[in-house]
């Protein structure tokens, strides 16, 4: 699939970064899949399953590209099912448990507001494959963030109970948001090559979108709270291990299985 040539100097960084994007969507897709058959209404059950499928599709393309960039023969399945917790680069936000529907929606909205602007920025990447995946993904994530934003407004500006649950979810998940915009050495080097979304550019856009929707939802954004960090280097909350155990058990138990 890889059409564009990769400069060896950025190969290792780009692989790391593609794992971040791919793992975000793989873990988020897995979490959303847990709602399948358990949704609060039929339309939402189907809606979340569709969003999950989009996430898994994005994860597939990103992890496939990551494997090609790495150049060691690992394809998307190998990367998805045969790495352990410390090798996963997903953000802590997406591995948080589903909780009640308000928590799932808040997690979705906070992540998608980031994913939307990140993919939008990457449509201009000089790597044709990455830009192509981003151009497709941004259109899909546009629908995701709108869906989550609409529910967030209904919950926040809803009943006393829905408002309380939405506010609690926001308060609980806020500490996982700064991490999305960290500018570590990998990101800094890639930004110089145009191969990563510049956090300095997408952070203000995320702030504006989150503020706008929260206001409409009559919700209060937390201020000056502790912020978690480390997931882009493989340090995760206690939840990821359980998620991967469930997700990976079959391919790991039967590594040569074909279907």
């Amino acid at each position: 699939m890889m059409a564009a040539a990769i400069d060896d100097a950025v190969r290792s960084d780009l692989f790391d970064y593609l794992l971040r994007l791919g793992d975000d969507n793989l873990v988020l897709g897995q979490r959303l899949g847990e709602w399948c058959g358990h949704g609060p209404t039929l339309e939402e059950d189907i809606g979340l399953a569709n969003i999950s499928l989009d996430c898994l599709g994005q994860a597939t393309s990103l992890l496939r590209l990551a494997g090609e960039v790495e150049g060691r023969g690992r394809d998307e399945d190998r990367l998805a099912f045969h790495r352990d917790v410390r090798e996963f680069n997903n953000a802590m936000l997406v591995e948080q448990p589903n909780g009640d529907y308000a928590k799932t929606i808040v997690r979705q909205f906070l992540y998608d507001a980031f994913g939307y602007h990140q993919f939008e920025a990457l449509t201009g990447a000089p790597n044709e494959d990455l830009a192509g995946i981003a151009a497709k993904a941004v259109k899909e994530v546009r629908y995701h963030v709108r869906h989550a934003g609409e529910w967030l407004v209904r919950f926040g500006d809803g009943t006393e109970e829905s408002h309380r649950r939405a506010q609690e979810a926001l308060d609980e998940l806020w500490c996982y948001t700064d991490e999305l915009f960290e500018r570590d050495e990998v990101v800094a080097r890639l930004v110089d090559h145009g191969l990563a979304a510049d956090p300095a550019v997408i952070r203000p856009k995320w702030d504006a979108m989150v503020k706008q929707v929260a206001e409409r939802a009559t919700l209060t954004l937390p201020e000056d709270t502790y912020q978690s960090t480390g997931s882009r280097q493989g340090i995760h909350t206690e939840h990821l291990g359980h998620l991967l155990a469930e997700m990976q058990i079959l391919p790991r138990t039967y590594p040569d299985a074909k279907w």
Partner: protein, 163 residues
């Protein structure tokens, strides 16, 4: 020996989309490019949605369609750029979709990511053409379709989303 591009295109136009069988994969915009180089044939296809589960089936169908043409080396490649869009669809294709009972996509406009921004343009019912319709869910039986209800003729219907 082998066929020319016209003939191959005709064979691919006979492959229906697995999800919406009244439309073929060429008019759907899935087939991107056909390249013939002597004994080698390369067909480029592009996914509609990144997670579209029909892509594997489509790839198999393309291989099967050209299997008897005598090419020694056939490659079906998945490409991502430029991104697939419903904007390439002809009016005939949109009409076929409507006749099948699915409201066709309009032109992609300035789709906003903000909440309730889609409420301004209700989708016309494919059965009775009324615009007195409401959105039930942005996601229908597949990721590419949304679910609506017509208040005029009281039927639910799906809409192929502008993409």
């Amino acid at each position: 020996m082998a066929a020319d591009e016209q003939q191959i295109r005709a064979l691919l136009e006979a492959i229906p989309d697995p999800e919406i069988p009244v439309i073929n994969i060429v008019e759907m915009g899935i087939v991107r490019d056909i390249e013939i180089d002597g004994d080698r044939l390369r067909v480029d296809i592009t996914p509609t949605y990144t997670g579209c589960p029909a892509m594997h089936e489509i790839k198999t169908a393309v291989h099967a369609a050209v299997a008897d043409l005598g090419f020694g080396d056939v490659e079906v490649r998945t490409v991502y750029a430029p991104a697939w869009t419903t904007d390439t669809w002809s009016n005939e294709t949109r009409q076929k979709l409507k006749d099948y009972g699915i409201a066709p996509p309009g032109p992609t406009g300035d789709e906003s990511p903000l909440p309730f921004s889609s409420e301004q343009k209700p989708v016309a019912c494919p059965f009775c053409d009324a615009v007195d319709t409401e959105l039930k869910s942005a996601f229908g039986s597949t990721a590419c379709k949304s679910l609506h209800f017509c208040r005029a003729c009281h039927q639910p219907f799906e809409h192929f989303k502008c993409h």
